[in-house]
């Protein structure tokens, strides 16, 4: 196909790569700005800061009560990961293995929370949560975050379960395993790679989930990304470097998990479903 490359084709290809390069360059420069500024003593009107220091990390740590915020973040994220796994994986199994009346409606039910953006359903959801005892508490935040993550686990897991040979389960049934033992001894070991991938993606998405946490969190249930928002929102109260130090801590917590996740999943899976698993 590519043997007869004309000048126009080559120019076009070059133009495409220039656009990609320009985008990536700006993206990396934007991230680098945050990192450099967090180590800067003073950075006004020059290419690079006057000097470098790590003291902003200590001041950010105490000013923003980051120890407390990090604990809350990991409690919330941990609970969301665990609950969405417990709810999502069995549901995905049922959807992958059974044809039942109304299945299309159930699938639509799980598709909607992923298609509708959080800001749209977040406000009615917050209203409902504030009328329940969960409003403004950590549990309210966890419940709100389950809305996109449970369907996400289901959509990732269904194709993964479908590719497992159902005869393995039939054999287990023949030997007398009930549904619970089938899950514990046969399915979970087989599904571990898929579950791990789905839950790691949930983890990364929940750390970065701003809208739902922002709407539902009270003062004691803020996660890192919400605390970052408030500090940027009130910029001028604190030194910019201090905010950027917090941004770097946030980036580090997200990227560590992203790197771990990328060992198990294809990056495109964060956006699209796992339909090209075997490719």
């Amino acid at each position: 196909m590519e043997q007869t490359q004309s000048v126009a084709t080559r120019l076009w290809a070059t133009a495409v790569w220039v656009v990609v390069g320009f985008f990536v360059l700006n993206l990396l420069a934007m991230i680098a700005t945050v990192v450099v500024n967090s180590f800067a003593t003073r950075w006004l009107g020059t290419w690079l800061p006057a000097g470098y220091t790590t003291r902003w990390y200590f001041s950010a740590w105490s000013e923003f009560q980051l120890y407390y915020v990090l604990i809350v973040t990991f409690q919330i994220v941990g609970a969301v990961v665990l609950l969405s796994g417990l709810l999502g994986v069995p549901a995905a199994y049922a959807l992958a293995r059974r044809e039942f009346p109304g299945k299309r409606i159930v699938l639509l039910l799980f598709l909607l929370p992923i298609l509708v953006p959080p800001m749209t359903y977040g406000i009615p959801l917050t209203t409902v949560l504030y009328q329940s005892p969960f409003g403004g508490t950590m549990w309210g935040v966890i419940l709100a975050n389950l809305v996109p993550t449970v369907p996400f686990v289901i959509l990732v897991m269904v194709p993964f379960i479908e590719q497992i040979d159902p005869r393995i389960e039939q054999a287990a049934r023949v030997f007398g395993a009930g549904t619970f033992r089938l899950f514990a001894h046969v399915l979970v070991p087989l599904l571990i790679p898929g579950i791990l991938a789905a839950l790691l993606l949930v983890l990364v998405r929940t750390i970065a989930m701003f809208e739902l946490t922002f709407l539902t969190a009270g003062p004691t249930s803020q996660t890192l990304v919400v605390a970052l928002y408030y500090s940027v929102f009130a910029a001028g109260v604190r030194a910019g470097q201090s905010i950027d130090a917090m941004a770097v801590i946030y980036m580090a917590t997200t990227l560590i998990w992203l790197l771990i996740a990328l060992r198990f999943v294809n990056p495109t899976q964060i956006v699209t479903r796992a339909k090209r698993q075997n490719a």
Partner: protein, 304 residues
């Protein structure tokens, strides 16, 4: 396993236990595993949405439609629709227009993982971090303006933050990777042998794109457009942090947020959220029906 013959006579049906009959229709213990997750989505998504719809028709004061009347009478409120569309539509179009040629090129290379990993960064880091980064990077003393002055493209710094362009660029930074990765997955899903066949029959690159890829991609691109648009339309943190939240980037999310958390008028806030959902739905329906009109003729030749 087939029990279809059990319905020959009513007496036979009576003898089959209910559990078995339900199991034959696909309802057994395994199917029930779907119930907890479905209940969770119904309670936390469907019920709040319906409750919000109900609440929006129960205003603090006035008649059934008082909230909607208030929204469409107050320019400060109804203008948010146009302002949000004015951000979301151009950004989505631009993202799609640059995604398609890039994805067409990237599908040919083997080592896609490095590029996709870099592109996944802004999605993973989220809009708040991108907003904070762009505040510095696009600012009057940021590296972008410095570089542009250094290469003499401009004389004095151009203003890119706290206005329309700040939000626009942040939506490109987070929206382009999303649009691109979706487009790439649709393009790589097209059987390469179709293109080889077209090339063998003498179609050049442009013809192959216009006659083969575009019709096959039409529905995928329409869905990509809808998903990207809906994301961009609900823009919130970057419109506050990078834009002019009282002026040109007072998007509809800001109006809903202010109604809920500054005026504590949950009824009005729900009404605005419902209007937000309605506008998104209208655009999605227009795009999905428009796709049928545009490409109906061309797709017929694809399967033979």
């Amino acid at each position: 396993m087939s029990m279809a013959s059990a319905e020959i006579s009513p007496t036979v049906v009576d003898r089959v236990p209910l559990r078995i009959r339900l199991a034959n229709r696909g309802l057994d213990g395994v199917t029930l595993l779907v119930v907890p997750a479905a209940l969770c989505v119904v309670l936390l998504f469907v019920y709040p949405f319906l409750y919000g719809l109900f609440l929006s028709f129960n205003p603090r004061e006035g008649s059934l439609f008082a909230n909607y009347a208030k929204f469409f009478a107050d320019a400060f409120l109804y203008e948010t629709i146009a302002k949000t569309l004015w951000l979301a539509l151009p950004v989505t179009l631009l993202n799609i227009l640059i995604s398609v040629p890039i994805a067409m090129r990237v599908r040919l290379i083997r080592r896609q993982k490095l590029l996709t990993t870099i592109l996944i960064l802004p999605i993973t880091l989220g809009t708040v971090l991108v907003a904070e980064g762009l505040l510095n990077y696009l600012g009057p003393q940021g590296w972008l303006n410095r570089t542009l002055i250094f290469v003499s493209l401009i004389d004095s710094p151009i203003r890119l933050v706290h206005n329309y362009w700040g939000v626009f660029l942040s939506l490109v930074i987070t929206g382009f990777p999303f649009t691109f990765l979706l487009t790439l997955s649709y393009i790589t899903g097209i059987d390469p042998s179709l293109e080889q066949a077209a090339a063998t029959l003498g179609a050049n690159a442009r013809q192959r794109f216009a006659r083969l890829f575009l019709p096959l991609l039409a529905s995928g691109l329409a869905i990509t457009f809808c998903l990207s648009f809906v994301q961009a339309f609900s823009v919130f943190p970057s419109a506050v942090l990078l834009g002019a939240p009282a002026g040109s980037t007072r998007v509809i999310s800001i109006a809903a947020y202010e109604a809920a958390f500054e005026q504590y008028d949950y009824s009005l806030a729900s009404a605005i959220a419902m209007i937000m959902a309605a506008v998104q739905l209208v655009v999605v329906v227009v795009v999905l029906t428009g796709r049928g009109f545009l490409y109906r003729g061309a797709t017929t030749g694809g399967k033979g």
